[in-house]
Symmetry: C2
Subunit: 462 residues, 2 copies
């Protein structure tokens, strides 16, 4: 890593201007500032931003960057919450947003081929127009890109039934440092020839190369969907009720949870009966053909009735959409409890959820800072956001203590420091709590096969 | 690779005897013969077979093997069809069959922890006893092991809806050449910390290390299942009818196909009305809660009626089980058409299935050797077995030509030489038709991170 350049030279500028004419090269400070940060609020100025339009252009860039030892940071919409795209060691940010073509959506193959800069919801809508289904739907689905989702192995609401981004990547084309263009996988739904390097790229956070084309699996579009919203006296009862659904042999499409703090925050933005007086709520969705959906909703209601809900509603259409819109607003609603947020996205084994929720609440009480707890109960993946006022130094210190204790509790329950966001910059200190030196050394050696000089997204996890 | 030992010395024998007392070490020729081959009929004698019972024993073995340059071949039940476990360069076969404990099946976490030698159906049964579901079910499910399934990324009948073995591996422990014991992943259903090396092991065919423990995801056990069997005038109509089910927005659990040759072979073993006079058949299964299953079966029948089936039956229970039993006997039934078999398991993009089936039949006619075509239509993954009499030299030559043409046709349709079995020894010549030199070099460099001296399963794909 010591071979990396630390200054931007006139020679660098000259090369970039020749490869990226016009506004495909960004150099002015005001414009660069927008590329210095992401949703983490971590920040570092890049030397330049380039906007390639083709695999060939990316290849020429990475041939040069490898020879020159110039750090490279792939970036799409910058919705990342942990600073994963922040150019922390200086260098060139490569925006994939001009590589945003949906190349092919094939209703014979049930395959989409796309460039990385396609917004995920645009892909999902284009597939739906042909009666097909692209399931991964992180909360950022309307603003984040497929390429970004692949870089983080994004999950989302429907991961319980449909899995995460990894499960939809059949193949990809990537450019490696040095400029080599490689492709792995195929349009086949099953292919076991060779080591599975396509999926190694999924979740690699831009540390191996730049993905320029993706082959994605599509499913038949479910005919119908419906949801059940149930509120309970305590968050623990809500968690236990959700677990009873799984035990009844039902695999919901989505199974979301929110605790009383989350509901309290929502109640300041929305007027809904179920937000008042309950300690926790769950929101489940099922999908499929209409009669199957009706039958599953009836079963879920029957199971949940035995858990003594204080509120129970099943709905479709506008009524259902309103509940999910509230769910999507939860992260934002947290700001009702404090102007600053320390977000966590820990996951625990599903059987430890009760302990985790109780523990997170105890930590919050002990540190006297509010947390809101919500997220993907079916995956054991909880968002625990510590809300505070960063200008109050004492509170900010307690908030940081609270956040660290949340991760440590999750890890002590056999959990992970990140179920969705990755560690990036802002959670990097947890890496060695979870990954031992031998495993980390292997990850770094595997990275070095693709990126021997360490030019790809340096200063991050591995 | 040149550092590998080519002879078994008395020093080697002495070390193995000390580490593997009693019948944990196999040296006599008669016993070794059973470990020389697998379901491929390829064969090569090992120097010795060892039967470790613990990760620690495997670690000591691989520390020694690395230092001595002794080739190591992990092996479980030897059901592999392509010679992937044949000790082709001499060395030690490591049987995992004494590491066959189901360590934990947890209905809170929806997780199983197992050793690699557990037979897959035993795991599925133990999970079902706790109302949980382990979906991967290769045809060999009652004889192959979870460890073998992980080595090949086994698919199976239910892959259409539930995915393949890869999708159930949450974490694993492996021993690497040199003896290092490493663990990746966790009991969390979502975990994005670090490079995804757990899944890199899935499908790596024993070329990276020896997996000694697996953490597997379980699902809720579906309450009910039911199947639809439909026969059509031609195989092409059968394929088209299956595709109409997907277009109707239905995702079946399984979607199997058989052509008229396969049905003809079956009709010599079973007496069933639908086996006579039709050109092709499809067998679909759905699962879920009972009313949902009923609704989906009704929808599938309605869709299939529009494709003018010559036979259409929906069933549950014994009637359904009989149809699936016939499906499981298909590979064996092929021997009704010839005493020898050249098996293929190509896959093609799903939209190319009609061309593939027609092309395979044309190749069979041209070469005047029977093929039976059946398999996982929903995944585009077909088993195409060329049946012949190997003692008839002219026919054997035509059979080999037929087999090669089948793979070449699949590849020309954008397909893969293997959807399930891997390439192993007997299909190794297809590797460079599908994987280009740059990608293959990367795979070999990644392998070298784990196995720098190439002692793990040498002489196979990469």
């Amino acid at each position: 890593m010591s071979t990396l350049q630390s200054t931007f030279t006139s020679g660098h500028r000259h090369f970039l201007a020749s490869l990226f004419p016009g506004d495909a090269l960004v150099l002015d400070t005001a414009s660069l500032t927008a590329f210095a940060t992401d949703a983490s609020r971590k920040s570092a100025m890049p030397w330049a931003v380039v906007r390639p339009e083709s695999t060939q252009q990316v290849s020429e860039l990475l041939r040069w960057a490898q020879a020159e030892g110039v750090p490279i940071y792939p970036r799409a919409r910058g919705t990342n919450k942990v600073g994963a795209v922040v150019p922390v060691q200086g260098g060139i940010v490569v925006s994939t947003l001009r590589m945003d073509r949906i190349i092919d959506i094939d209703s014979g193959d049930f395959v989409a081929e796309v460039e990385p800069g396609v917004v995920t919801s645009h892909l999902a809508e284009a597939a739906a127009a042909k009666n097909m289904f692209y399931p991964p739907d992180p909360a950022s689905v309307k603003s984040s890109t497929v390429g970004g989702n692949v870089a983080t192995c994004a999950g989302g609401l429907k991961a319980v039934k449909y899995g995460v981004t990894r499960d939809y990547v059949l193949g990809l084309t990537a450019v490696l440092p040095g400029g080599a263009v490689v492709s792995f996988g195929s349009r086949c739904h099953k292919d076991v020839v060779g080591l599975d390097l396509a999926r190694l790229f999924v979740g690699s956070a831009g540390t191996l190369g730049i993905v320029t084309r993706l082959v994605l699996k599509l499913l038949p579009l479910p005919e119908a969907r419906a949801s059940v919203l149930a509120a309970f006296s305590s968050p623990e009862e809500a968690v236990a009720a959700a677990q009873s659904v799984f035990r009844a042999g039902i695999l919901p499409t989505a199974c979301e949870f929110m605790d009383s703090s989350a509901m309290g925050a929502l109640s300041r933005l929305f007027d809904a009966e179920w937000l008042h007086g309950a300690g926790g709520a769950i929101l489940l969705q099922v999908d499929g053909i209409s009669p199957a959906v009706d039958a599953e909703i009836a079963s879920i209601k029957e199971v949940l009735q035995t858990s003594a809900p204080v509120y129970l509603m099943a709905g479709q259409g506008a009524e259902e959409e309103q509940a999910w819109e509230m769910r999507r607003q939860l992260s934002q609603a947290g700001y009702q409890l404090g102007p600053d947020k320390l977000p966590e996205d820990v996951a625990v084994p599903r059987g430890r959820l009760l302990e985790a929720v109780a523990g997170f609440r105890a930590i919050s009480a002990e540190q006297r800072v509010p947390v809101i707890i919500f997220g993907h109960l079916g995956d054991g993946n909880l968002h625990v956001n510590t809300m505070h006022d960063a200008s109050d130094v004492a509170m900010a210190t307690r908030a940081a203590t609270c956040r660290a204790a949340i991760v440590d509790l999750a890890l002590s329950l056999g959990g992970t420091a990140s179920g969705e966001h990755g560690l990036g910059l802002s959670k990097r200190e947890h890496l060695t709590k979870q990954i031992s030196p031998a495993e980390l050394a292997l990850m770094r050696q595997v990275k070095a096969v693709f990126d021997p000089q360490g030019i790809m997204n340096p200063g991050k996890e591995w």
